[in-house]
């Protein structure tokens, strides 16, 4: 009898769960529809005048404002006039990722009247550890849209415009003029130069933050008479091989959070005219030792290509070409090897199941090897391939030219670099890389193999 009751209870519970899931799906579909409509309306607006329709100009605080902002209103140097300036201000945030989320959160909650959000990308689960405005249920939707939903919940008085396109040399000059302060929360070199040149030409203060691993940097460019621009400090872009993105180098969410919150603070200071803006100085944050250093940087470079009195660059250029890198932080598939120097994961899987004797070198860093590894893999980080220390370690296997050696990494780029390097020393050995690396393994061989 008791068992029967328990059974019917379980059935009833399952029914309810299914019903809730159906309702949830219907709700999500409606939500999506609403967002699409809103987006279409915004785009219509965006195509019209200068993207941000004429702002309302407020001359006094509402009772709700006073209650909501009371804790900052009573700050001596902030006060009602500071709050009014914020309420009438417009800030553009480029990149709604690890830096942009906390920056937008503090600006919206502090009462910044108009926010522009630029991000072409969509929310995915690997963003959630640091991109604090996005949620599990909003995975797959535009980051700018997702951020707007979160921000309006925080402060419905904030007017928010989304630009869910990649910022480029054409739209930047249409979007930026409508804003007072620009926040560079981007994740790539090309966008950093683009924003710098646009802000320098349009004379907009640029609050520039960046973070990677445990490190962060912050400064305000194009601010004041003698404030330098990004090009004054870094006239030439770094070579692509010297640039690490968060997807490859990793980053701690609290580090981007620290820098993003400071970006909001500097933007508020610029708008309100509070304190001493971080211009002509660069804040260097080393999270591993929790040290902040303030480096006094130079003023304007007299021969700067964009902000000097005789600039060479007077309009925006092609920044992907200038930097030799794409304006995103995604990895491109390298094409370094000939087809015969590569093996398909399915062919490798077959050979491994047949227990054919071979060597599988996994060239990822040890921290990544620890996450997951293929059954026969030996961890030999790429650096040990490139400095040839692997030669001694695998002297025995390298004795025979026929002994099959395979190289694997996460996506099949580093493995190609490794094979290319090994081939210069052992041109006739059987050394091949696994095409598209472990991502292909998950896709084609074992769907339960973790992907990161």
């Amino acid at each position: 009898m008791i068992a029967a009751t328990a059974d019917s209870f379980e059935i009833e519970k399952a029914k309810l769960c299914r019903k809730i899931a159906e309702l949830q799906a219907a709700l999500n579909a409606k939500d999506q529809k609403l967002r699409e409509l809103q987006l279409a309306a915004d785009n219509l607006l965006a195509e019209g005048e200068v993207q941000l329709a004429p702002r309302d100009h407020y001359t006094e605080l509402s009772n709700d404002d006073i209650a909501r902002y009371s804790r900052q209103l009573i700050l001596t140097d902030f006060g009602v006039s500071g709050q009014m300036k914020l309420k009438n201000s417009a800030v553009l945030i480029v990149g709604l990722g690890g830096l942009g989320c906390p920056a937008a959160q503090y600006l919206a909650s502090a009462g910044c009247g108009n926010l522009g959000l630029v991000d072409y990308d969509e929310v995915e689960p690997s963003n959630l550890h640091r991109q604090t405005l996005h949620t599990v249920s909003r995975c797959g939707i535009s980051k700018a849209e997702s951020a707007r939903i979160a921000l309006l919940e925080l402060n419905p008085h904030c007017r928010i415009i989304c630009y869910s396109n990649l910022l480029n040399s054409f739209n930047a000059m249409q979007i930026i003029p409508a804003y007072d302060v620009i926040l560079d929360c981007s994740d790539n070199v090309a966008t950093r130069y683009l924003l710098n040149d646009a802000c320098s030409i349009l004379q907009k203060p640029l609050v520039s933050g960046s973070a990677l691993k445990m490190d962060g940097q912050l400064t305000v460019y194009c601010y004041g008479e003698n404030g330098p621009c990004y090009r004054c400090i870094y006239p030439v872009p770094p070579p692509p091989e010297a640039v690490t993105n968060c997807g490859d180098g990793g980053v701690l969410g609290a580090v981007t959070g620290t820098i993003g919150a400071l970006q909001a603070m500097e933007a508020i200071k610029v708008i309100v005219g509070l304190g001493e803006v971080l211009a002509g100085r660069m804040l260097i944050f080393d999270g591993s030792s929790c040290q902040f250093r303030n480096i006094k940087i130079r003023g304007k470079r007299p021969n700067c290509h964009v902000c000097s009195s005789q600039p060479l660059i007077t309009g925006l250029i092609d920044y992907e070409l200038f930097c030799g890198m794409n304006a995103n932080d995604k990895d491109n598939a390298l094409q370094l090897l000939e087809p015969e120097q590569r093996i398909n994961v399915l062919d490798y899987h077959k050979l491994a199941t047949e227990k054919k004797s071979h060597l599988l070198l996994d060239v990822r860093p040890p921290a990544e090897f620890e996450i997951c590894q293929l059954p026969d893999a030996v961890n030999v980080p790429l650096a040990q391939i490139l400095d040839d220390s692997y030669v001694q370690r695998f002297a025995q296997q390298l004795e025979s030219k026929e002994y099959p050696i395979f190289v694997v990494c996460r996506r099949g780029n580093d493995s190609q670099i490794a094979v290319q390097h090994m081939k210069t020393r052992f041109p006739d050995h059987s050394i091949r890389d696994l095409e598209d690396g472990m991502h292909a393994w998950t896709k084609l061989v074992d769907q339960n193999f973790p992907i990161y």
């Binding site: 973070a211 770094p238 070579p239 981007t256 660069m282 260097i284 250093r293 006094k296």
Partner: protein, 90 residues
């Protein structure tokens, strides 16, 4: 010019990519007490494997940006030279 010793020991601090390339966040470095900034930069690039980012570095002496690579800088024992490449992630 008055000289008490021919070299001094300074501390070099590495940030971001330079830390990876130098494989340390801090190193002691022996250098002439009066040295052209450009020459110091070349010595650091060669000693700490910084060639790939040699055109993209801020060098700061005791937290002050070194603006002119032609100028001589005066170093005392324990002075700090910070090597700061840009970070672009976010």
């Amino acid at each position: 010019m008055e000289r008490t010793s021919s070299v001094v020991n300074i501390n070099v601090l590495f940030f971001a990519k330079s830390r990876e390339l130098a494989k340390t966040s801090r190193a002691e470095f022996t250098v002439e007490p009066v040295v052209k900034a450009g020459s110091l930069l070349i010595q650091l690039i060669e000693s700490f494997n910084l060639k790939t980012i040699s055109d993209n570095l801020i060098i700061a002496h005791n937290e002050n940006y070194i603006e002119n690579l032609e100028a001589e800088i005066y170093l005392c024992k324990g002075d700090e030279i910070a090597v700061i490449p840009p970070i672009s992630g976010g």
